[in-house]
Structures are given as C-alpha cells and as structure tokens.
Symmetry: C2
Subunit: 327 residues, 2 copies
C-alpha cells in the first residue's frame, strides 16, 4: 500500500511542492494557483485559450525594490554630473545645481516638475542606441547602498517564480511600468526573461532621422508620447497589447486603473497588490497597520479599501513571502 | 540503388518542394530561402538567436490588395451614411456631403485633409470595444466589387506562405501598417495568424474613463498618437517592438524608412518591395516598364532606384508569383 502510494502520489506531491516555493501557504498563494488551474484546464468553465492568457506586472515595488528611490531616478541623478562636463551652464542652474551638490536630502525634496526637467535632460536628446549603451554601462557599475549589490539583483524571488509559473502555463507576461520603456527594456530580458516587446512603459517620442554618416537613427525627443501611469497604464496596454489582460499585479496608486481595467472584463480575473510591510527584510510603507506614507510607491488607504471591496488580493511581503530576494 | 535513393532522398525533395510553393523559382525566392537558412543555422556566421528573429510586413499592397481603394477607406466611407442618421447635419456639410452622394469619382478626388476629417469621424469618438464590434460587423458583410468576395480573402497566398515559413523558423512576424492599428487587429489573427500585439499601425490616442455603469472603458479620441507611415514606421517599431527587425517587406514610399532602418543594422538583413505589375491577375501600377502612377500605394521611380542601389529585392507579382490569391 505504502509503496503504491509513493509511486503514484509522490510525483504529484513533488510537483505541488515545486509551485511557488518562496510563497508561504495561505489564501493568496492558493488563489493564484487556483486561478491558473481554472484558466488553463480545458474542462473548466473558466478556461481561457492560450492566445488570451496575458498577465501584466507593474515593475517598481512589484517586481523589485523601489525604495529608497526608483532605480531609474538614481540613474538619472548619476548622469547629471557627467552631462555637466559638456554643459557647464547646468552648474549654476536649478534643479541641476541641487543634483550636482550631491545633497541627498535636498534631492529628495525636489518637486515633480523638477524631476521631469532633470529626467528630460538625462533620458532624451540622444539616439536610442546611444541611450542603450549608457544604460548598460550604468547597470554594470551602479550598486544599491543598503545591500551593496547591483540594482538588477533586487528583484523579488516570489514574483520571479510567479511569472515563470504563468509562462509555464502558456501565459504571456508583460511588464507595464511607469518607468521608462527604453530603460527597463535594457535589463528586462536578463532579469525577468521578458523581451523588449513585452515591456510597456513611459515613452518619449522618437524621431526618425539620419546621422552624419547617412545612417538611419532614432532620436529621443524631450516630449512624452505615453505616460504609463494611472489611466495611462490601460491606455498603454491597449496600444501595445491590444487585448485586455486577465491578470494584473501592482503595488501603488499608479496601478489602480490597470487593475480596474483588467478586472472589468468578463470571465475569471485575478488582481493583486503587493504590500510593503516588512521593514526588516525589505521596507515598510503603505496603508495597513499604521505603516508610514511614502512618495515613492504611494499606496493610499483609499486604494486599500478599494482592493478589499473589489476582492483584489493583498500580498503581504511579511506573511506571504518565505524569502524576498534570491541572495 | 533506386530504392535507396527514394527512401533517403525523397523526404528532402518533398520538403524542398514544399517551401513557398506559390513562388516561382528565381533569384527572389532563392534569396528568401537562403536568408532564412543562414540566419537560423547555428553553424552559420550569419546565425541570429531566436529572440532577435523579427520580420516586419507592411499590409496594404504587401499582404493583400490595396486597389482600387484601401479597404479601411471603404469601411470609413461605408460608415458615414450610418453616422448621418444620428448626425443629420453631416448631410449639408463637405466633405461628408460628397461621401453621402455615393459618387465614387468625386470621392476619389477628396483631398488628404478631407479624408483625415472623414476618418476621424468614422474611427474615433467611441469606445475601443464598440469599434471592434462595428469592424467585425462590416468585415462579415462588405465585399470587394471586382472579385465579389469579402476583403479578407484578398490576401496574397505567396506572402501567407512566406510569413508561415518565417514563423516555422522561429521568426516573430509583425504587421507594420499605415492603416489603423485597431482596424487591422480585428482580422489579423484570422487572416494572417498574427495576434493583436504583433500589429503596429496608425493609432489615435485613447483615454481611460468610466461609462455610465461605472465600468472602465477606453475612448478613441480624434487625435493621432502614432502616424505609422514613412519615418513613423521605424518610430512605431521602436515603440512597440523595441528591437531592430532583420527582415522587412513593403511595397510603397511609405515603407522606405522602415526598409532603411531594418537594413541599417549590422549582420545579414533582408528587404524587399512588392511590385504590382500584373494587371490581369491583380493590378498594375508603379515605376517599372511604364506602369501608371497611383495615389494608392505610390511606388516612385526614386524608390525603385534606391531599391536597386541598396540591393533590396523587387518582387514581381507577374514573374515571381505562381498564384496570387488562394481562390
């Protein structure tokens, strides 16, 4: 009897154990597994054909750490001293003066308008190919201060497992980020096994032209084409995917409309928000249990209430994740 | 000896015969087959990893017939009488008056600006979902006059075979069209086995909002976000694919910059233009052999000269295609 049990049941037990190993057992893990089972089982009323299996993921704060500062903003700040060498006039001009001072507290107080101006200088005015080279160079040298590791290592292991589990079940996984599309595409393949065409993000206009050698190039212009935040996320999804995804994961108010759009379609849908409630293993901010507010990855009480009302899952990093990083 | 030959060689002979059966033997067919062989053979110096195998195709005039009029323009014209029922003021107002007159010759004389105004009315101002329903309805009833067939049957069999051959060899095939992205996406899967996310086209802005029931919807606004023609094609490719494709097919001046961009990358590249030189089996227009000019799918002498100079292939419908349509 025992031998039979082992021979016939062990593979199933092992398989069950292998799904999402960094997630603790509980209703969140259970509902993810059930959603994927129901949408991929041809005999289920919730079955979804493979071409409609699309899952979208916010990046900053959902797939990797966003505190103390979005890594793209660190990249932007890091570029300004270099740019000031070619453009010395920046040294006497705000908001660049503040960035060049290196005073981190003053930099944290910069307004949204200031940051847009700095970002426009750092992220546009070059060809797409030059930009790609610059990002690659930065990725290889820049390190997060708290963990003293390259930023690309600060991805959440449970979310990596989740995306892999979706893909194994025929889902296409997309990143839908408020961050720069060209920036995220530079590492999305290495970090998440997501190709550039599956990264939707904030994008400036690019202009086709010819360089001095007469070769065609695309220049990045300081003008936003797609602001992939809030309502811009479903707008970007329509532009680049052209179908309503059936699963969405986010962590902040910028993801609200994406989750509404995804769950607004007919059939079984899955929507979840990552709650940063683990100050020891990562960071703690957000609405629950008196966590502090933040300007980086804002998760308001309103969004929390909406999530509960709409039956969106709240992923507690503290309770639902056995391990956060792979290191 | 003979039996051995058959047993061992017949499968190879059959396989060779099966590649692009609607293409006549010749340098064009040969260079397509060679390009795919070289880029997919791991031992070749021209080998391209599967994630970089991207081939882009213009639609109108490249994958299906564009004469006497782009089918999307027929759709637009067909919608105006319906819209005039709700908006009777259109009846007295140009350019709508001309469209409502049904006078085809007068309609052919409408200016680009007129057509933009008509298209804006017919293609925007509704939700993306309502638009999809309207397009589906039209596709099921509208018929091309010359062949008395639904428009979606007017695709070129040799190009269908070509796209299938690319895909069989690990390529992702994209449509990059000056036509409306939302319009083409409605039939691209059925007609070309190309999913919506692999259709790049001219796109209006969409705006996230809520309908009267409080459900999230996307409204199509009368404002162009991406004009996917000329330089807009490489711009759209960068936005939506994020990589430089390695093969491109077009048929008109609107495709020139796309072919320049694709062939401007390093490594082996393939670029070809379809020449409409078969008045009997399809239509004849363009630069070669005194073919007439056209406003629909313009192929200038300049483009022809550039193609010869740049070593882009010219696909003669008359000489290179054994069969044009599947019917």
């Amino acid at each position: 009897m025992k031998a039979y049990f082992l021979i016939f049941c062990l593979p199933f037990i092992l398989q069950a154990q292998e799904i999402l190993p960094s997630w603790n057992e509980g209703p969140i893990k259970q509902s993810i597994i059930e959603f994927i089972q129901k949408t991929t089982d041809p005999s289920s009323v919730d079955f979804v054909p493979v071409e409609d299996r699309i899952a979208v993921f916010d990046q900053d704060g959902t797939l990797w750490a966003e505190h103390p500062l979005y890594s793209q903003l660190v990249f932007v700040f890091d570029r300004i001293p270099q740019m000031a060498k070619d453009k010395p006039e920046l040294k006497g001009k705000e908001p660049f003066k503040t960035v060049l001072s290196g005073n981190k507290e003053a930099m944290m107080r910069l307004t949204g308008k200031d940051l847009m101006e700095i970002a426009a200088l750092a992220l546009t005015g070059m060809t797409t190919e030059q930009f790609a080279i610059d990002v690659q160079k930065w990725l290889q040298t820049a390190r997060d201060a708290r963990w003293d590791r390259p930023y690309i290592e600060l991805t959440y292991l449970p979310m990596q497992e989740l995306m892999a589990h979706f893909r194994k079940n025929g889902f296409k996984t997309y990143i839908v980020t408020g961050g720069g599309q060209d920036f995220v595409r530079e590492y999305a393949w290495d970090v998440y096994q997501i190709p550039p065409e599956q990264v939707v993000g904030t994008a400036p206009e690019v202009k086709f032209s010819y360089n001095q050698e007469g070769m065609p190039v695309l220049m990045k212009l300081p003008k936003i084409l797609l602001n992939d935040n809030y309502g811009g996320k479903p707008e970007g999804i329509h532009l680049m995917i052209g179908k309503r995804p059936i699963a969405a994961f986010g962590n902040s108010t910028g993801d609200q409309q994406m989750l509404e759009y995804v769950t607004g379609g007919s059939g079984l849908r899955l929507a979840m928000l990552v709650l940063h409630d683990d100050a020891i293993r990562e960071y703690a901010y957000g609405p629950a249990d008196g966590l502090p507010d933040t300007k980086v990855g804002t998760f308001t009480q309103d969004l929390y209430d909406q999530a509960l009302k709409s039956n969106w899952g709240i992923i507690s990093m503290k309770k639902d994740w056995k391990q956060i990083f792979s290191f």
